[in-house]
């Protein structure tokens, strides 16, 4: 079995803001066509990671390779052109749409920016995209404030599609929406991803949402990936104590080993394993040794001293 093509790869990506280590050496690869989820509590660095991947902020260390090119080495104009292929959907459907532009203009904007199609056709294409996300053509002439949160997120999705990207990074795209609307938007995202043959990087604090939508999941804690693997493996048989605790704290699960306390301050990351201060199974070594993310076999990885690496481990 040949390994699937890597669309995007983060290599030892790091970002510090002053003393705050928001992202600490994250490495993973996105396969073309998959839906990859990054889950973690607020403050785990997942939004910072998303911004690093799109180079909306400059990394303090490491690199991002997109379709084989190192994004961090690109000049300003080259990077701008590369953005055509990576679009982002933000959490806040109220803030991310310019209130002074009609919905039609908003959706057509990426086409203007990247010179896609004939100028005269862009309006019509914008309406087609709106239709694809389930909004009537009349929506094109209206302004964002006339729409509900769910509708706005549909507009943001239509806009993200406009430049025909290979990758969409969705940062908490449904967490600002009513639960009843969340499923609709998630299903729409999945449909469109299939139809347009895109890859989706989905970031959420909500395990149920990630479980519903993703093929593979990475769990982040204090700026690091602590566990990574197939959805079935992560959700069915979590190995890292943090992942186990996360599942235990989700509503509707048995109340064993729930997570106590809050995520430590990223300006003062605990020594050794960052999770040890909240880990029910922490022991001496955890305060001294930093557990690396190790392969457990079967494309699974975990960063914990208690998890035995597979004998046939391949990195």
């Amino acid at each position: 079995m040949s390994p699937p093509e890597k669309l995007l790869e983060a290599r030892d990506l790091a970002k510090t803001f002053g003393k705050v280590a928001a992202v600490r050496g994250v490495s993973f690869a996105l396969r073309r066509g998959e839906t990859f989820g990054i889950v973690g509590e607020s403050g785990s660095g997942k939004s910072t990671l998303a911004r690093l991947l799109l180079r909306l902020i400059e990394p303090s260390g490491g690199g991002v390779h997109f379709r084989g090119r190192d994004l961090t080495s690109l000049g300003r104009e080259e990077m701008r052109r590369e953005r055509r292929h990576i679009q982002m959907i933000f959490q806040d459907p109220f803030g991310s749409l310019n209130p002074r532009m009609t919905v039609g203009e908003l959706v057509a904007e990426p086409m203007h920016a990247h010179d896609i199609g004939e100028r005269g056709d862009r309006g019509a294409r914008a309406l087609k995209l709106l239709d694809e996300v389930g909004l009537p053509a009349a929506a094109g002439a209206r302004y964002p404030h006339e729409f509900s949160g769910g509708q706005r997120q549909r507009i943001a999705i239509a806009r993200a599609l406009a430049s025909e990207p290979a990758l969409i990074v969705a940062d908490e795209p449904v967490s600002a929406l009513d639960v009843s609307v969340q499923a609709q938007v998630l299903n729409l995202l999945l449909d469109l991803k299939e139809r347009h043959g895109m890859t989706l990087l989905f970031i959420s604090h909500d395990l149920r949402v990630v479980e519903f939508i993703c093929d593979r999941i990475a769990v982040m804690y204090l700026g690091e990936i602590v566990e990574l693997g197939d959805k079935a493996a992560i959700c069915g048989e979590p190995r890292h104590p943090y992942t186990q605790a996360l599942f235990a704290s989700a509503p509707g699960r048995p109340k064993t080993a729930r997570l106590a306390g809050e995520i430590p301050n990223a300006a003062d990351v605990p020594s050794g394993c960052a999770f040890r201060t909240r880990c029910p199974r922490a022991f001496d070594r955890c305060a001294i040794d930093h557990p690396p993310l190790r392969a457990l076999g079967g494309e699974r990885f975990a960063a914990c001293h208690l998890v035995e690496p597979a004998a046939e481990a391949v990195s």
């Binding site: 909306l56 701008r80 679009q87 933000f90 209130p99 904007e109």
Partner: protein
């Protein structure tokens, strides 16, 4: 939109009438008698009383007010006690001078303020930004009349580029006319531009931190387009509001400036008329200024609606 315009038009009425009524009352409550003023020291009390009767000044205040109000509504503003001609004939030439100076000053304030504000915001925390902000603080701290005297000293006395004072009408030569209003307009406008620089800078910084600016960048929009089409358009709305306030400062600042430069504008007319107890002229000048302010406010409100669809549609 029509309702919005209608509401704005209604709001004009208090803008015009409240100052007029205040002026009417203040003039009549203040000491000094226009009849005695006109007749001079030699007049007998009988002569004064007769003139007071002719001018309607012996009527009760309420009656005077009703006559006055009727006059305002029909634009019969009475005759100047001093010029002995109808006020309505005197006002236009004075108003024209003030409007000329105020518009040029507003133009200077807007252009300088917008450019400096945007530059400071885009170069945030660099020496350019700090320098511009420091200049703006300095500009805000200096009173117009002092600034005007400084300008006269430098450009009219030392370098003799502009005339020291006086006014030339555009009909007697556009360039010469422009030279007479240039310094007053700069004195008025630069100070307001300091205010506008600060406003533009902070509203640009506000907008640039909006999520949709980050979104626009993430989409790969060229930075020039992000600044011009996204940020500037949004930042313009608060800027326009301040410009409106500024314009009213320009009108009031024009009073002092017109005195310094001996410009025959509304401000100078007003000051002189107050000194002469020339009630009809004072009221007429205040009416003219109030109408100018009201039109200005209306224009700002409409511009605001043009800039922000949320105002237009709600």
């Amino acid at each position: 939109m029509i309702r919005y315009i209608g509401r704005r038009l209604l709001l004009i009425l208090p803008t015009i009438f409240v100052p007029l009524i205040l002026v009417f009352l203040m003039l009549r409550l203040a000491p000094g008698d226009p009849a005695a003023q006109i007749l001079g020291d030699q007049a007998t009390p009988d002569q004064v009383a007769a003139l007071r009767h002719d001018m309607g000044l012996d009527q009760p205040l309420v009656v005077q007010f009703v006559f006055w109000l009727k006059g305002v509504l029909t634009l019969h503003l009475g005759a100047s006690f001093f010029f002995r001609q109808p006020v309505i004939d005197i006002l236009p030439s004075y108003a024209f001078v003030t409007i000329q100076v105020a518009l040029l000053a507003l133009f200077i304030a807007l252009v300088v303020g917008a450019c400096a504000g945007v530059a400071a915001a885009l170069k945030r925390d660099t020496p350019i930004d700090r320098g511009l902000v420091a200049l703006a603080v300095l500009g805000l701290s200096l009173p117009e009349f002092w600034f005007a005297l400084l300008l006269i000293f430098l450009f009219a006395v030392t370098w003799r580029i502009f005339p020291v004072a006086g006014y030339v009408a555009p009909s007697e030569g556009l360039v010469a006319s422009f030279m007479t209003i240039a310094l007053p307009a700069i004195a008025l406008g630069l100070r307001q531009s300091a205010l506008m620089t600060r406003m533009m800078r902070s509203s640009m910084l506000d907008v640039m931190s909006e999520p949709y600016i980050a979104t626009a960048r993430a989409q790969g929009l060229p930075e020039r387009r992000v600044v011009l089409r996204y940020a500037l358009r949004v930042a313009a709305a608060p800027f326009v509001t301040v410009a409106g306030l500024s314009a009213s400062h320009l009108l009031s600042g024009a009073v002092a400036i017109e005195l310094i430069f001996s410009l025959p504008g509304l401000g100078k007319l007003l000051i002189d008329a107050v000194g002469r107890r020339d009630y009809p002229v004072v009221e007429g000048a205040v009416l003219a200024i109030a109408i100018m302010l009201a039109i200005l406010n209306l224009a700002i409100d409409l511009l605001y609606a043009l800039l922000d669809p949320r105002v237009r549609l709600s």
